[in-house]
Symmetry: C2
Subunit: 354 residues, 2 copies
DNA sequence: TTGTATGCGTTATCAT
DNA sequence: ATGATAACGCATACAA
């Protein structure tokens, strides 16, 4: 019968007007039935509306709602690099929490081009996202300041943005590093090398480097700790330098002192593992090893790579939850959620020295 | 001065009305300047509008545009499992192509719950996405039929949906499998075992299994091929069964005949690698190995895992491009893009038999 | 070439 | 308790 009035545009989906017509009431009534269910509804009218909604399979258009209400139930997720397993894992947790709360995720990948950070935010702002989950560099000129966000709440994941008032969710880097170092030292590894990606400006990298230094210091004069910043494979000398650092580390071992490397994340772990292959060395033999970020393949390399597993799902979930709380009206000072990691001991940090 | 008229809602961003006012023209003129730049514009008015746009940093609200036009410049991406590296890799390529074309991605992860496929599509449809990129099971009751899509175009990635008229982008499974088998046979591996995830209904798995059979057959009676379907770790007997299959395979080797396993994707590769560790075997020794999907860690397992690398970036890019062409009005029958894989030979398929 | 008026699907403010 | 009606920000058919 009643073919849709609005012939021009969106085909198919029923509108609130259709429901109103079918129920013999006004659009306002339908809207109220949907939104303010609790008060103001006469039983029979409610029933009629409900029937019409069911019959027409009506569900409101979020776009129109967004336009009218000012909020979209959309969350912008911008990620420095989707290729990074950590980011994906977080993404996964966040997306789940969002789904549960009825939010949808708009994804923007920076592909490690930090310069596009503002571009990403702007695009997302245009789409009226209600808030942001940011896992970006957060450094340099392109770093997002509070007002690029146009007042929308944001939660930072893993990487702080200097001076931005926002919730922050991350691994408890200090505690985690302490666990790692204590484990290594307890295993007789006293010559330690921490290998990180270039730290410039990335808070989590800086924090781990600092924590590494503190831990070593706390262990007393007996342990010697150094830091090496490993570069991209784009850098032609990256391999040489890394191999060199590893060789130097091995030289420090001897007369009862064992040497181990601590990798700052799974990307570094990969590079170190490749270097070990180049050198023909085995983890747990020439050098001990513990790496941040657990991966599915960690147990398959040699006798297994010990890792400090980040609670990635929890981090993602917490981030989304944090943000959604804000969206629901929670006010209050920026919060910090530092989640504990879990040390997974495998062969690389226990095997006897060769 | 002129504080925004619309006090109630969205704070901050300038609207087309503001620009019109600032330029001393009507909203329609501004709209035309923005959309139909080519025709209908008097030089001085255009200049004034342009100035006003620049001054107010105006950029149109995609939500409002979507409401008015019926299209949103949004693309819905639904993925069976973001944890799957293949999916992420595709996602990455797709997101890039979308960004380049000015589209944004709305992400929905199924977390391997195929039952939520419709739910995902529905949510996305509500948000007026212009089209879909689907990398889902595409099987069973929840499988998406053409009209769940409400007429929106879709492109299927890696997995076909039976009976759905849609573009399809995937690895050329037949060719790839042929390459793999030929390589193995050339290396003297004549006892072949193909290990797949449970094939039920997933087209890519079925295709590869079929292709494997065909290849073996084409090689003549000299090569013996079998297929094993490996189950989730959720299945308590999964390990035993897999280990058993591997042992049986090894038994087939001997008197000059070498045995090799072909893994259907990186998930299977992981399982097989774990099994090898359990059995204390080495790839390239007891058994040869080639796995579909290249991973960053493939070169680090033992003497390196040979892999059939999928052109994931290209697949994602092609999928998005395909879809965007449709959105730009391209009509025509469903297309099929079968992209070639690349065999990466490492130790697992060349080392001498132990 | 430009302006006016209307519609897109909702919500919300006012009456009633 | 319910119904007109005006936003929301934009595009467009129609007038001028």
């Amino acid at each position: 019968m009643s073919t849709r009035k609005s012939v021009g545009r969106a085909p198919g989906r029923a509108t609130i007007g259709d429901v109103a017509e079918a129920a013999g009431v006004s659009k306002a009534t339908v809207s109220r039935f949907l939104n303010h269910r609790e008060r103001l509804l006469s039983p029979d009218i409610a029933a009629r509306v409900e029937a019409a909604v069911a019959k027409l399979q009506y569900s409101p258009s979020p776009m129109a709602q967004a336009l009218s209400r000012g909020r979209s139930r959309l969350i912008g997720l911008v990620v420095a690099d989707v290729s990074n397993p950590f980011s994906v894992a977080v993404l996964r947790g966040a997306e789940k929490a969002c789904q549960e709360a009825g939010y949808l995720l708009m994804l923007f990948n920076l592909g490690n081009e930090g310069s596009r950070e503002r571009e990403a935010i702007d695009a997302l702002v245009r789409y009226q996202v209600d808030g942001f989950i940011l896992n970006t560099l957060g450094r340099g000129a392109s770093a997002v300041d509070a007002d690029t966000l146009h007042g929308k709440p944001a939660v930072l994941v893993d990487r702080r943005h200097p001076g931005m008032r926002a919730d922050f969710v991350s691994l408890d880097n200090g505690e985690a590093m302490q666990t790692v170092c204590a484990h290594l030292v307890a295993g007789g590894f006293t010559e330690l090398l921490y290998i990180s990606e270039p730290s410039k400006g990335v808070s989590s990298r800086r924090e781990r480097i600092a924590a590494f230094g503190d831990c070593a210091k706390a262990q007393g004069a007996n342990v010697a700790a150094q830091v090496f910043e490993s570069h991209d494979d784009a850098d032609p000398q990256a391999h040489e330098e890394l191999d060199g650092a590893l060789k130097a580390l091995k030289r420090r071992a001897g007369r009862g002192r064992r040497a181990a490397v601590v990798a700052g994340n799974s990307v570094v772990t990969l590079r170190v593992a490749a270097a070990m292959t180049r050198l023909g060395w085995q983890f747990g033999q020439e050098l001990g090893f513990v790496g941040f970020d657990d991966t599915e393949w960690a147990s398959l390399i040699g006798s297994g790579l010990s890792t400090m597993a980040q609670p990635t799902d929890a981090i993602g979930h917490a981030a989304a939850t944090c943000l959604i709380e804000r969206l629901r009206g929670f006010e209050g000072p920026p919060r910090q959620l530092l989640l504990p990691g879990q040390l997974l001991v495998r062969g690389s940090s226990v095997a006897a020295k060769g």
